[in-house]
């Protein structure tokens, strides 16, 4: 689309200024998002493996009845059962109500059950907003996911913040297409070497162009996910359901409208799970029992997508008879355009539809988007290099660019050091803050850009190598045990960290030897 010069200049200003004002925050959300793609694996790795690859391999019916009988009948409205990253079965028996802040919430009893012995490992009662995310073993993956989802800001402001950043990324992607006149002709033009500024511009444009489809999808789905809960549902609930968000959610989920509170015991859950596995083509990953002990009870079983598929249908069962009622779309009671489109948003955003392969590609795409954001900021600063304010901000880009992965690694170190005392809920975020402060302090004290880059790479290398050593040294399982128990992914994670750490140390050494050969190299923006 050919724009007039005035409009192009305006778009460049908007693209640039919005990037400068919010770019570093956007980088935080993108990098933590890339890491959060592996949140389940990180949770499993930090717990030294999962106790069972198939949590429902052992019959669960007797245990489910035992748990239901141990709680008040008010908590029989919904029973959600799903595995966590450590392989424990989490059963949350609850009712739908509002919490002290007046927000819709779920109140009930949460059990953590060992997948093989069905022994109760933990039990907590209260609102979902209070009793989830307080398990010390899940502290690391929960911390990283929350950092991405809401920057650890209180609701709804955190979601508004990440939602706005998603819109910013969307605007940057679209304006980038409109600004770049020769998008297709420049598709294979490597960053040119004739001038520093041209090289910086080419780096940003090339990475931006190639990552455009992914950036667009990620920005759109990310903005939707942030705004849907915090703004969309309350708004639609107010207009279409007189403010009753619970009624809106039940309509969307597709809860059976006909109510029959007549007492009727639930059929055998293991039979339903087996039938669901046959119908769904994969092992069940969790289920929800609605209206336990009533004639209108239903069971909805979730699955991971089958081989080659992007989405997976849930399977619906009549509770008292155990009769298979057929596949159930993610929302609504029958297939619709809305359920199809919504069903695509989650796999496209999270990249978790095809195991390690899709997660690895999504992680790499996230890193490319980080590169686009940082090179855009560096390009902006390079164009204004003669002004001291922009030179200082260029230093801030380097500090945050390196400092964030250092802080993320620091949170992992804090997690492992505090795990023996089960103080991870405090020390994981505290270690993130300490590592951030150290990175910022180093950035303030070290004046030469190349020295700074070398120190940051050293810090990253040491932190990455320390993580698997701490995991094993502080009570975690060794590689032999992990391979024998089918937890090869934990070993793979350790190896990736060791290799990445070694890579950073080599990169730091490389910078040192270049500095030794060119002692008077001009300081510019910190080396990449």
């Amino acid at each position: 689309m050919a724009l007039s010069q005035v409009r192009t200049k305006r778009l460049v200003a908007i693209h640039g200024w919005s990037g400068v004002i919010l770019g570093l925050l956007l980088y935080v959300v993108i990098l933590t998002g890339a890491v959060a793609v592996f949140s389940f694996e990180i949770g499993s790795w930090s717990a030294s493996g999962t106790k069972s690859a198939e949590p429902f391999a052992r019959p669960f019916d007797e245990t489910l009845r035992r748990l239901a009988e141990s709680v008040p009948a008010t908590y029989h409205d919904d029973i959600s059962v799903f595995p966590n990253s450590a392989g424990h079965i989490v059963a949350f028996l609850h009712t739908h109500t509002t919490n002290a802040e007046g927000d819709p919430d779920e109140k009930g009893v949460l059990f953590e059950v060992h997948p093989k012995t069905h022994a109760i490992l933990a039990q907590r009662e209260g609102f979902a907003s209070e009793i989830f995310g307080v398990d010390p073993w899940s502290a690391l993956d929960e911390f990283l996911v929350e950092l991405h989802v809401n920057l650890h800001l209180p609701d709804p402001w955190g979601l508004y913040a990440t939602g706005i950043l998603g819109l910013l990324m969307l605007a940057s992607a679209i304006s980038g297409i409109l600004i770049h006149r020769h998008l297709i002709q420049d598709l294979f033009v490597a960053p040119r070497l004739s001038s520093r500024l041209l090289n910086a511009r080419d780096r940003h444009n090339l990475a931006g162009t190639w990552s455009l489809p992914f950036a667009f999808v990620l920005a759109f789905t990310g903005a939707y996910l942030s705004f849907a809960l915090s703004l969309g549902l309350p708004t639609i609930g107010a207009v279409a359901f007189g403010g009753d968000q619970v009624a809106l959610i039940e309509r969307l989920i597709g809860v059976r409208e006909a109510e029959d509170p007549t007492t009727a015991p639930l059929a055998n859950i293991d039979g339903m799970l087996a039938a669901s596995a046959e119908a769904g083509g994969t092992a069940p990953r969790g289920f929800i029992v609605r209206h336990w002990g009533r004639a209108d009870a239903t069971v909805t079983v979730s699955h991971l997508p089958a081989e080659g598929d992007l989405t997976a249908a849930q399977q619906l069962f009549d509770g008292p008879s155990g009769r298979h009622l057929g596949p159930k779309p993610g929302i609504g009671t029958k297939p619709s355009a809305g359920s199809t489109i919504l069903g695509l948003i989650f796999p496209l955003h999270f990249g978790n539809f095809a195991g390690v392969l899709s997660r690895t590609v999504w992680f790499a795409l996230g890193l490319v988007s980080c590169y686009v954001t940082l090179t855009g900021l560096r390009l902006w600063m390079a164009r204004r290099d003669e002004h001291p304010v922009w030179r200082r901000l260029a230093r801030a880009v380097a500090v945050v660019g390196y400092g964030l992965p250092i802080a993320i690694a620091g949170s992992g170190i804090g997690f492992f050091l505090s795990l023996p005392a089960e103080q991870t809920l405090f020390w994981t975020p505290a270690a993130f803050s300490i590592a951030s402060a150290v990175a910022i302090g180093v950035g303030l004290v070290v004046h030469k850009d190349r020295t700074l880059a070398r120190i940051y790479r050293l810090m990253l290398g040491i932190a990455f190598i320390a993580l698997p050593l701490l995991r094993m040294g502080l009570g975690g399982f060794g590689w032999g045990h992990l391979m024998e128990s089918g937890n090869g992914k934990v070993v793979a994670f350790d190896l990736v960290l060791l290799i990445a750490g070694a890579g950073f140390l080599v990169a730091a050494a490389g910078l040192a030897s270049r500095a030794a050969k060119e002692p008077r190299a001009a300081d510019g923006i910190a080396a990449k």
């Binding site: 305006r10 703004l231 107010a238 279409a240 309509r251 297939p335 619709s336 355009a337 809305g338 919504l342």
Partner: protein, 97 residues
């Protein structure tokens, strides 16, 4: 001098239109979509699609505010959209009760 002042005023108006006004328009249009959007086969499209389309609503309004040559007309259209949709949503929430 006068031209400089007018230019700065135009920039400020455009930032306001492309910023808070655009966001408000997107929220207001999303709010009224359940009242007219087709319900679909499962009776939920009019509830879920406004949520899904919210980023698109915002993007259309944002780029209109950025690229419109006639700033006055853009302001009238965006604020008009905001008033009409906000009033409709307000009537749905409080008027029908």
């Amino acid at each position: 001098m006068e031209q400089g002042k007018r230019k700065r005023r135009a920039i400020v108006i455009r930032w306001i239109l492309a910023g808070p006004v655009t966001l408000a328009v997107a929220v207001a249009v999303m709010a009224t979509m359940p009242l007219w959007f087709p319900q679909g086969a499962a009776g939920i499209d009019h509830l879920i699609l406004p949520l899904i389309l919210f980023p698109a609503l915002w993007a259309v309004a944002f780029f209109y505010a950025c690229l419109a040559e006639n700033l006055t007309r853009a302001g009238v259209i965006l604020i008009g959209l905001l008033i009409v949709n906000a009033a409709t949503a307000g009537w749905a929430v409080w008027g029908a009760a």
